[in-house]
């Protein structure tokens, strides 16, 4: 393990899935306290702060949390994967000596308060929003094209939900804890063809936080820390009218993270893959290189994704499909569950034995227009 490698010392997932009685800022406060306690650190130790989304600009949350003596802030907002990017950015800042203890928080309440957290309009708005686009139909277009080019079936997409639901039954905080079958998924109502209701993630309130620390701080803590071995990010977009809906930015973010970490696919024991929709997972697995392009549908058949014994156990908390997707931004839980797996703290029925290398992958924005992919490789003992 390189000595300059930053490490995740604390994580916290808010247990709420519906928070009508709390403000979004209050949820940020809850998760900040939870992650610092998990790390064995205090507010006064924090010298770097990272956040995105609601409830305001980064200085609003610095003010609300009463953070003092910050030396570094970052409010990079690339949609749901923002917090996965923040871990990479924090590790880089720590390597540069810009800060030593970086706190990353996220929270939101779209379930209690509809419309909490929509993206601001850009110059494309008249050419997109005019036509009645939304999150589901934009991912549905990707699914349609993937099916057309590669023969991917609705039953194959359903396998992703089935695996997530089997994991969620062991998570008492998960929104949906009942295992489902392929038939349940393909017989659920169509929301936007070809995506069914059970191809879609939950809408939940909640939040989470991560504490990233320098190797020196990690060595002083009485806590298992997980090293940030590799990070890669990429933005993929409409390409001036040449958009290809069958792949994601993971074709670039994945290799960057793997190279930085010096690992291969065979080294990955566990993966948290952003699962806004089942098609998101299938395209991402192909793009990360776990199978050939177009073979993601076949890859997920036969229990590949199921923990603890599948070829690539994924989303053992139930993922966005079954557990939570706080503020419509599922990147934070992806990091948290990877850390739990690497510490051996996942729910015991789904804990991958001797998990040493984990991957957290986030997707931000929309597969149908423009999006960000961020990949982290985590692992190693400290």
């Amino acid at each position: 393990m390189a000595d300059h490698t930053a490490a995740i010392a604390g994580v916290y997932e808010h247990p709420t899935r519906e928070a009508p009685d709390k403000s979004t800022a209050q949820l940020h406060g809850d998760v900040a306290v939870g992650a610092l306690e998990d790390a064995g650190l205090e507010k006064g130790d924090v010298d770097g702060y990272f956040t995105a989304g609601r409830p305001g600009r980064v200085m609003s949350m610095v003010d609300y949390l009463g953070l003092q003596d910050l030396e570094y802030v970052d409010s990079t907002d690339v949609g749901g994967t923002s917090y996965v990017s923040h871990v990479g950015h924090a590790a880089a800042a720590i390597a540069e000596g810009k800060c030593e203890v970086a706190l990353i928080t996220m929270a939101g309440r779209p379930r209690s308060r509809s419309g909490d957290g929509g993206p601001p309009s850009g110059p494309q708005a008249d050419f997109e929003e005019t036509y009645g686009i939304g999150t589901v139909n934009m991912y549905a277009l990707a699914a349609r094209r993937h099916m057309h080019e590669h023969g991917t079936t609705a039953e194959q997409l359903a396998e992703v939900r089935v695996a997530a639901s089997e994991h969620a039954q062991y998570n008492e905080d998960a929104m949906f804890q009942d295992p489902v079958t392929v038939e349940d998924v393909v017989e659920s109502r169509l929301v936007s063809d070809p995506l069914h209701l059970l191809d879609c993630c939950v809408v939940s309130d909640g939040g989470g936080a991560v504490v990233v620390v320098s190797p020196e701080v990690a060595d002083d803590l009485d806590r298992d820390c997980v090293s940030v071995l590799g990070h890669g990010e990429a933005v993929k977009h409409h390409d001036a009218g040449d958009i290809d809906l069958t792949y994601t930015g993971a074709v670039e973010s994945g290799p960057r993270a793997f190279e930085e970490a010096g690992i291969t696919h065979d080294d990955v024991d566990y993966a948290s893959i952003y699962d806004s929709f089942t098609i998101t997972v299938v395209e991402t697995l192909e793009d990360l290189g776990f199978c050939e392009k177009g073979e993601g549908g076949e890859f997920v058949e036969g229990g590949t994704l199921k923990a603890p014994d599948g070829e690539l156990p994924f989303n053992t908390d139930g993922g966005g499909l079954c557990n939570n997707h706080p503020a419509n931004r599922g990147g934070m839980p992806k990091i948290i569950e990877t850390v739990r797996q690497l510490r051996g703290e996942a729910n015991e029925e789904v804990q991958v034995p001797d998990a040493e290398i984990g991957l957290s992958h986030g997707t931000g924005g929309s597969l149908g227009t423009r999006m960000t992919s961020t990949t982290l490789v985590l692992g190693g003992d400290r």
């Binding site: 005019t130 009645g132 939304g134 589901v136 277009l141 349609r144 936007s192 001036a240 009218g241 809906l245």
Partner: protein
Amino acid sequence: MSDAGAGDLPSPDVSPTPETEKYWAAAAEGRLLVMRCADCDRFYHPPRARCPDCLSENTEWTEASGEGEIYAHSVTRQMGPPYHEATPYVVAYVELEEGPRMLTNVVTDDPEALSVGQSVEAVFHETEDGEYAIPRFRPV
């Protein structure tokens, strides 16, 4: 212009900018414009002053044929306002004859019958304020 099968779709007002006003004004006349870069000969969409390929300002409006084919489509069955009462309706990428893939609606009485690769042609629906029009497509 025809409004075949499109009667139920809302046509929200648009907010043209100095870069896009010509596009919307042409649509109001039943013409579909795409931009072309004279330096790299690239057709592109949505319109913008500089070519997104080479960043040249040597770009020009050209009239598209309005012909294209479906690249991907989805029948949307659940949506918030202003489209909530228009369901089921079709969002799609249509690949224009000139090259660019354009996000749009396909208007049809039989959305289930649409398929990838199907030929479509442009139709234009006046916006609610009557100032401009929205290009959409229908099966040929």
